[in-house]
């Protein structure tokens, strides 16, 4: 197990360099001059432009820029944005907010998704199951921003239960509504995944044998059906951690949250290489770690995987 974990962590190294290099190259190749974009209608004097260029290493060839960036990165210097703030500062304010939002959403979708999916799977073909399927289909087919605006209007404006926008520090209670919106699509997938998995496992021979042992129905369901059904769900959740962290742009936009999504979007528009690359690098690490966590959880849930090649 330890060996496996170590191997997976080592695999992160090429993934890290590959991803940062690609992203850096893409930002570098974006059309338009970042300095010109920064100053808009009134360009500064050529001397100032040259100074800024050398300050941000923009006058050097691409590969030098990348190597200088990586060198600084490992010294803990992630560079500065074109507006002069250090990138690490921006990260320190954006990441915790998004992480809180993503974790809250993950908790919602896992908890409710598995619960609803389990009940639907146990009552396949009944009313609850049919309604769960219809609702999940709705959530999957309606775009997130529509769900976002509707919930914002109903709970924020009409009922006044929640704030329509989230304040700067983004405390947990204000994030509940955005997290529900963010979780909605994944919730629908988890319901369907769990339902299918549960109804498959219910027909398994070992479930019949468990009942024949004289176990109670609740015990058979929780011990012999649920655990076996969680394997595919856990895979999905792991991949979802990544997309929740990154893909919150729409939700963050609706509720005016200063999270990762908005910051990266702004940085891309401005062509701020260091900001974009640093954020992406951190996201890549989160993605890889989340996948590692999934694989370890996988092995915990299914012992057959532990001993496989």
């Amino acid at each position: 197990m330890l060996w496996y974990t170590g191997k997976r962590l080592l695999q992160m190294i090429p993934v890290f360099f590959g991803a940062t290099f690609l992203i850096y190259f893409m930002v570098f190749s974006l059309p338009g001059d970042p300095i010109a974009a920064l100053y808009g209608e009134r360009p500064p004097s050529p001397a100032v432009i040259a100074q800024i260029r050398s300050e941000y290493n923009l006058d050097k060839p691409f590969i030098m820029q990348y190597l200088l960036y990586i060198g600084n990165f490992f010294q803990g210097d992630l560079g500065t944005t074109y507006s002069g703030r250090s990138v690490s500062d921006v990260m320190a304010s954006a990441f915790p907010i998004t992480a809180r939002l993503a974790m809250l959403a993950l908790a919602f979708e896992a908890l409710f998704g598995i619960l609803v999916g389990l009940v639907a799977g146990l009552r396949k073909g009944k009313l609850f199951d049919a309604s769960a399927l219809v609702v999940s289909l709705l959530l999957i087919s309606v775009p997130t921003f529509v769900i976002g605006f509707v919930l914002q209007f109903v709970f924020g404006v009409q009922l006044g239960w929640a704030r329509t926008t989230v304040s700067g520090a983004a405390p947990l209670d204000e994030l509940i509504l955005p997290a529900l919106v963010l979780a909605s699509v994944s919730f629908a997938y988890i319901v369907r995944l769990t339902r299918a998995s549960v109804s498959d496992n219910l027909n398994a021979d070992f479930v019949r044998t468990a009942t024949a042992k004289g176990l109670s129905r609740p015990r058979v369901v929780t011990v012999h059906v649920l655990r076996n059904s969680l394997v595919p769900v856990v895979t999905f959740l792991g991949v979802d951690i990544g997309s929740l962290m990154v893909g919150a742009i729409v939700t963050e936009g609706i509720f005016n949250i200063n999270g990762v999504g908005g910051t990266v979007f702004k940085a891309i528009r401005l062509g701020e290489g260091p900001t974009v690359v640093s954020f992406i690098a951190v996201m890549v690490v989160i993605f890889v770690l989340a996948n590692l966590l999934v694989d370890l959880l996988y092995a915990a849930l299914d012992p057959r995987i532990r001993y496989a090649k």
Partner: protein, 582 residues
């Protein structure tokens, strides 16, 4: 304990005491879109304390459904539609869920059919045994653990204490079945329902397990309800026999009497078709120098079948269609970290198969016989050696050539549950190879599917059904139909008839032989069942631990086995020394 034993003796001696289980006119139906389909139609049987009763019948006869109805564990939409199941005078059909839960495990133990799928893969063995004990006795903590070990040891796992933390996939089929027997008997139930408890195991393991089960149930005075398709096994293990056919009991009574003198035509057919017994007869008659033709008809097997085999034996000269030279397959098994164990699954095996003949590879599980099949099918790479098909080396075939090879050499696999896609209906399953090899138009494929279904004696309507709705035997017939779809030259049959009941087995073996003559097919028959080998094979290779220990013509192997191992295998055939009436 002593008291229990005395009671047991009393119970056995007094068969005129009240019956333990009495089924009266039981009717079970399965709800479908076209109404209720009856599966059990008015079954009655009586089982006294301490007795062993076997329900015998082919797949689809309703024997398993009857057993499952007793403990209210009918699959899918099944429900009891009439009759009574009296257990110690109490009608089980009227019990509610909580009352039934108290009966299951504690009063009636259950040993299921397939040891591979009946243990939950994600929980360790100790957990699965102890939860059964906990549910039925309320033991906790240390006494629970001690009892768990005890139960497993009684079931024949001597090193149980060290293996509690292991998972089902680390146990062999025989060991898993021991675990399941342990679970079934853990609460000392009055009745044990054993549904084909050994049909997935080798003969030698089967013998050990059944002996063990017999000892345990005798010691505890447990009554046993055996469900089996194996007449030899029923004759050997049960005092009472109930023969079921299409959901009805056609004959019942003391097993020796029934098998020696079957009254109902169905039972007569069943007895006549039992292959293990046929081979015995052939051997016996031969010793008396009886004329060959009489032996075969007396054996109840297809006379033409064996005559043809003899013909082929004489005709089969010339070059081998498949020739295997010194093949070896080594598996590396990861232990921990960087360490590997090497397992020699196939060790320097050589043999040749002539066109139009049948070669059987016999051995217990773990002997490497299935690996040989996989190597020939090009599903696994060779470690060393050479396999030739029509004189050409098949190792390293790629792309189109490999596709052509696959088209001509088709497999039929061991597990009729695992080798069919549950999401595909039967018609699509059979048509799939045609589609994959782009044969014919949609209409032609459709026609071929019906033709194939007819060949494996399934009704045309089967094409719209799904594997889960079919019995094991029916599924295996579909697998055979699928393999025949492309009209291949060679069929590799990996335990293809092991899961079938005798009559269907007989039909399939006849069908295979007919097809062999018609199409000049060559068979490679992988099996643990020597009785079947006797009926179909021209040549036999006996494998043990990766090596061929004996290779000769079928007659030589059966009449004068040279190796001790072969003799052991022959001796372990159930019901081998029982005289059957024909």
């Amino acid at each position: 304990m002593t008291q229990l034993a005395t009671e047991t003796v009393n119970q056995i001696s007094s068969t005129d005491s009240a019956p333990l289980l009495e089924i009266k006119n039981l009717e079970v139906g399965f709800r479908t879109q076209r109404g209720v389909v009856p599966a059990v139609r008015g079954v009655s049987l009586t089982l006294f304390p301490g007795q062993t009763l076997a329900i015998v019948g082919e797949s689809g006869s309703g024997k398993t459904t009857t057993a499952q109805a007793i403990i209210k564990l009918l699959a899918g939409t099944g429900q009891v539609t009439g009759g009574q199941i009296l257990f110690e005078g109490r009608d089980l059909t009227t019990l509610n869920a909580a009352e039934m839960q108290a009966v299951r495990g504690r009063q009636i133990g259950y040993v299921p059919q397939d040891p591979m799928s009946n243990l939950n893969p994600v929980w360790n063995i100790g957990f699965q045994v102890s939860e059964a004990i906990k549910a039925n006795s309320g033991l906790r903590g240390k006494p629970l653990k001690a009892r768990t070990i005890e139960v497993l040891q009684e079931a024949g796992l001597a090193d149980a204490a060290d293996r509690l933390k292991q998972y089902p996939h680390q146990f062999s089929g025989g060991m898993r079945q021991r675990v399941l027997i342990g679970i079934g008997l853990s609460a000392r139930p009055k009745l044990l329902i054993a549904d084909e408890p050994t049909s997935a195991l080798d003969v030698t393991v089967q013998r050990q397990i059944l002996d063990h089960l017999a000892t345990l149930t005798r010691d505890y005075g447990t009554s046993v309800l055996f469900i089996t398709h194996d007449l030899g096994l029923a004759a050997e293990r049960a005092e009472q026999l109930v023969v079921m056919y299409k959901g009805k009991v056609v004959e019942s009574g003391p097993s020796q009497e029934i098998l020696a003198n079957p009254q109902h035509p169905y039972t007569q057919r069943l007895v006549a078709a039992a292959p293990s017994l046929a081979s015995r007869r052939i051997q016996a008659k031969k010793n008396q120098d009886a004329p060959t033709s009489e032996i075969f008809s007396a054996g109840g097997t297809d006379t033409a079948l064996i005559a043809r085999a003899t013909e082929r034996e004489l005709a089969a000269t010339g070059k081998d269609l498949i020739s295997v030279e010194g093949i070896t397959k080594m598996y590396r098994i990861r232990k921990s970290g960087l360490k590997y164990d090497e397992l020699l699954a196939v060790n320097d095996v050589s043999f040749g198969v002539k066109k139009g003949t049948t070669t059987a590879i016999v051995g217990e599980s773990g002997s490497g016989k299935s690996t040989v099949a996989k190597l020939i099918l090009q599903l696994e790479g060779l470690t060393s050696g050479r396999i030739e098909f029509e004189g050409r080396d098949v190792a390293g075939l790629k792309g189109r050539q490999l596709l052509n090879f696959r088209r001509r050499v088709q497999p039929v696999f061991q597990d009729p549950y695992g080798s069919l896609d549950p999401q595909y209906n039967v018609g699509n399953t059979i048509a799939e190879p045609l589609l994959a090899h782009k044969v014919g138009t949609k209409k032609e494929r459709q026609k071929r599917v019906l033709e194939l279904l007819d060949q494996v004696s399934l009704p045309a309507s089967t094409q719209f059904r799904y594997p889960s709705e079919l019995s094991g035997g029916q599924r295996q017939r579909i697998a055979i139909a699928r393999a025949l779809a492309l009209k291949p030259d060679v069929l590799v049959l990996d335990e293809a008839v092991s899961a079938l009941d005798v009559l269907v087995q007989g039909q399939i073996l006849n069908l295979l032989t007919e097809l062999q003559t018609e199409l000049g097919l060559t068979y490679l028959f992988i099996t643990h069942d020597l009785a079947v080998v006797r009926l179909v094979a021209d040549n036999v290779c006996v494998m043990q631990k990766g090596r061929i220990v004996e290779a000769a013509s079928t007659d030589d192997v059966f009449d004068s086995p040279r190796e001790l191992y072969t003799q052991e295998l022959l001796a372990a055939i159930p019901g081998g020394d029982f005289e059957f009436g024909r």
